[in-house]
């Protein structure tokens, strides 16, 4: 039923891979990227509906990546994932066009809900815009 495509961006391999496996187990199409550059590359080559984006990453951080995504693929919905109290960065992210932000560790069900909502908004926007 959840037939949307998700890109998971996080530098923490253990976290990214495990979450990827779990989401795939729930029949979602999930791809992983360990940094912002890789994520942008993948977005360029494939179509994704929702991006889950860690805020704090080495090199290009979440906020920068988000800005790039919103320039290149404004239709993709982004959920920010933060590991600390940076409500500011969460709010900043939302001002920059992120769909929402969640704080680690996040229960999977909650994350799934958020992803569904994000996808819903994307489809709604596409139909309105279309």
């Amino acid at each position: 039923m959840d037939n949307f495509k998700v890109l998971l961006v996080d530098d923490e391999d253990d976290f990214r891979e495990t979450l990827q496996k779990r989401l795939r187990n729930r029949k979602l199409q999930v791809e992983g990227a360990e940094n912002g550059y890789k994520a942008l590359e993948m977005l360029q080559s494939q179509d994704f509906d929702v991006v889950i984006l860690d805020v704090k990453m080495p090199g290009m951080d979440g906020i920068q990546t988000l800005q790039e995504i919103k320039i290149k693929k404004p239709e993709v919905e982004v959920i920010m994932l933060t590991g600390h109290a940076s409500v500011e960065s969460g709010i900043q992210g939302m001002q920059l066009g992120a769909f929402d932000y969640v704080m680690k560790p996040v229960p999977l069900d909650e994350l799934l809900d958020k992803m569904r909502q994000a996808y819903e908004r994307k489809t709604m926007r596409a139909s309105h815009g279309g």
Binding site: T18, K21, N25, H84, V87, P105, V106, L108
Partner: protein, 563 residues
């Protein structure tokens, strides 16, 4: 600064002021006095000298006149005429008309025979021969003679003036007795003031006139010996244990010395008065300077202490704020570093659970164990997550939602939450809420959290059977609202009191409290522009006082430092 340091500083300042102000005053006083004293002593000496010169002149004149009278009488008459007592009496009367200085008059021939005599001692002196008297020799040799005071044949102190008249045929002597009262009068005129003295001595230091106080004529003179004085002498000499100022001057005849004595105390009285005035003025000056110095210093010290206290309070507040900021940063860092591995653990556990749910595992004999263990892992991850999220809550710089808040209502609600628990533990919550408390601009939810925190702590501190007093008050002067929450629990030890707002500080058992409640409360109240203070007495209880501004919390906490 400690109390004794303030005292020492104050003392030093006061002493410096006093020394620097008093020294010139003292120097001025001393210099003025010395100058005045020198001048005055010079003037005094001069006055004394003038007096002595004046008296000497008068005495010299007196003697000159007497001698001149006798010379005139002697050389204008012959011995025969003068030997006639009637003639001599007439001549004596003429002399007496001019002056009462003479007592008697006698004519003595070369052989010392008393040829004629006019005067009151006729019976005694008639026919006396002076041939062997000392004065008779002297007058025959020198031509004129003034005697010392002596008793003579008449047994009365007197002195004589005698001249030798050189006649054509023979020499004879005209001798006059002088009323020593006249001499005394001339000398007495120099006895000025209450203690001034003047007298005449001869070269043997025998008094020739009666001094004012001590000594009689013909006795040795009291006081220092001036009998050998040849020229004018002024001296400050000891007499009778006291210093006296003396002037001594020989008379013309050289055989007598006029001595004038004065008590410097009396003559110097104006000087002494000046000394007292200067002394009094200096003392008064010192007193005024000292009073002003002490008063000024005390005032200064009070100001210093007040400003130091204010500074200390502000410093403390600033310290607490910066401590909170630093700890907040650290807490955020720790939370972040822990949240990432926690997230991994959670995902791994979740993945294992996912796998367990798949059918090929359903028949595993340890399925239940796996499930339980994973549940426990998830439970503890959740527990750790709560801690980190609270930490983040503490560190978060979330802007409060400002709305109209009725503090009394918020307190009522907060108490409502805890009423059942309190009743169960037999803790009586008393409310004394100010009905005129203004509605303030603040954040209801956050204040609720603070009140619940403090009330929970109070209940925990009391344990069982106790009382909590909640009081609100409006402070119109500063436009502030004060909330006081006091319990009668065991109190907080002094060494702990300064740490209770620090994060992770807890007196509760492990697992019972995070040690974040009060630090979060502190952060909230600070953000709302107020401050929170604690006072505690062991065995008496603990009182939390929260001050909140009535208007928008735009002001930062340190504006309240003076409160």
């Amino acid at each position: 600064m400690a109390d004794h340091q303030y005292k020492k500083l104050g003392f030093n300042i006061a002493m410096t002021i006093i020394i620097f102000c008093v020294s010139p005053l003292l120097i001025l006083g001393i210099v003025l006095y010395m100058h005045f004293s020198n001048q005055y002593e010079m003037r005094m000496m001069e006055t004394l000298r003038t007096l002595a010169e004046n008296r000497r002149g008068a005495l010299n004149l007196f003697f000159d006149e007497r001698i001149a009278q006798l010379v005139t009488l002697g050389y204008t008459n012959t011995l025969e005429q003068m030997s006639n007592e009637e003639f001599l009496g007439k001549a004596f009367d003429v002399m007496q008309r001019r002056s009462r200085s003479f007592i008697d008059l006698g004519v003595i021939d070369q052989e010392g025979n008393h040829l004629a005599y006019v005067g009151p001692y006729r019976e005694i002196l008639k026919g006396v021969n002076y041939k062997h008297e000392e004065w008779f020799y002297a007058v025959k040799n020198t031509g004129e003679y003034v005697s010392d005071i002596f008793l003579g044949f008449r047994k009365m102190p007197h002195f004589i003036i005698a001249i030798l008249v050189r006649g054509k045929t023979e020499n004879w002597v005209l001798r006059a007795t002088i009323n020593s009262d006249v001499l005394q009068d001339i000398v007495d005129a120099a006895q000025i003031g209450k203690t001034g003295d003047a007298f005449i001595i001869n070269r043997d230091n025998i008094l020739q006139t009666k001094p004012r106080f001590r000594g009689e004529v013909m006795e040795p003179a009291p006081g220092p010996d001036f009998s050998k004085t040849m020229t004018f002498t002024e001296e400050l000499l000891p007499s009778n244990g006291e210093k006296r100022l003396y002037a001594a001057v020989p008379l013309k005849s050289k055989q007598w010395v006029l001595v004038i004595g004065e008590d410097p105390k009396e003559v110097l009285a104006p000087l002494l008065r000046a000394k007292y005035i200067v002394g009094f003025l200096v003392l008064a000056g010192i007193f005024v300077i000292s009073s002003v110095a002490v008063y000024t210093t005390r005032h200064l010290m009070q100001q210093l202490i007040i400003s130091d206290q204010k500074k200390a309070a502000a410093d403390e507040l600033l310290m607490q704020s910066s401590k909170m900021a630093a700890l907040g940063k650290m807490a955020a860092g720790i939370a972040h570093e822990i949240n990432n591995p926690l997230a991994v653990i959670a995902e791994k556990a979740g993945w294992l659970k996912d796998l367990l749910a798949e059918e090929d595992m359903a028949h595993s004999p340890n399925l239940q164990e796996f499930q339980d263990t994973l549940n426990r892992i998830e439970y503890h991850v959740d527990r750790a997550k709560k801690v980190t999220h609270r930490l983040l809550g503490f560190a978060r710089r979330m802007e409060p939602v400002i709305e109209n808040v009725d503090i009394n209502k918020v307190l009522d609600e907060s108490v409502g939450f805890l009423e059942n628990e309190a009743r169960f533990l037999n803790i009586n919550i008393q409310k004394d809420l100010d009905a005129n408390l203004p509605i303030i601009k603040s954040d209801t939810t956050q204040l609720q959290q603070v009140f619940l925190n403090i009330l929970n702590n109070a209940i925990d501190a009391i344990g069982r059977n106790g009382e909590i007093n909640i009081k609100t008050k409006y402070l119109p002067r500063n436009n502030l609202v004060a909330i006081e929450i006091a319990d009668n629990g065991p109190g907080i030890p002094k060494e702990v009191l300064s740490k209770i707002f620090d994060p992770f500080f807890t007196t509760k058992e492990v697992g019972q409290g995070t040690g974040l409640g009060l630090s979060i409360s502190y952060g909230i109240i600070e953000k709302l522009g107020g401050n929170i203070k604690v006072a505690s007495e062991p065995d008496q209880g603990t009182t939390f006082t929260i001050i909140l501004p009535v208007s928008e919390p735009g002001t930062r906490a340190h504006h309240l430092a003076g409160y």
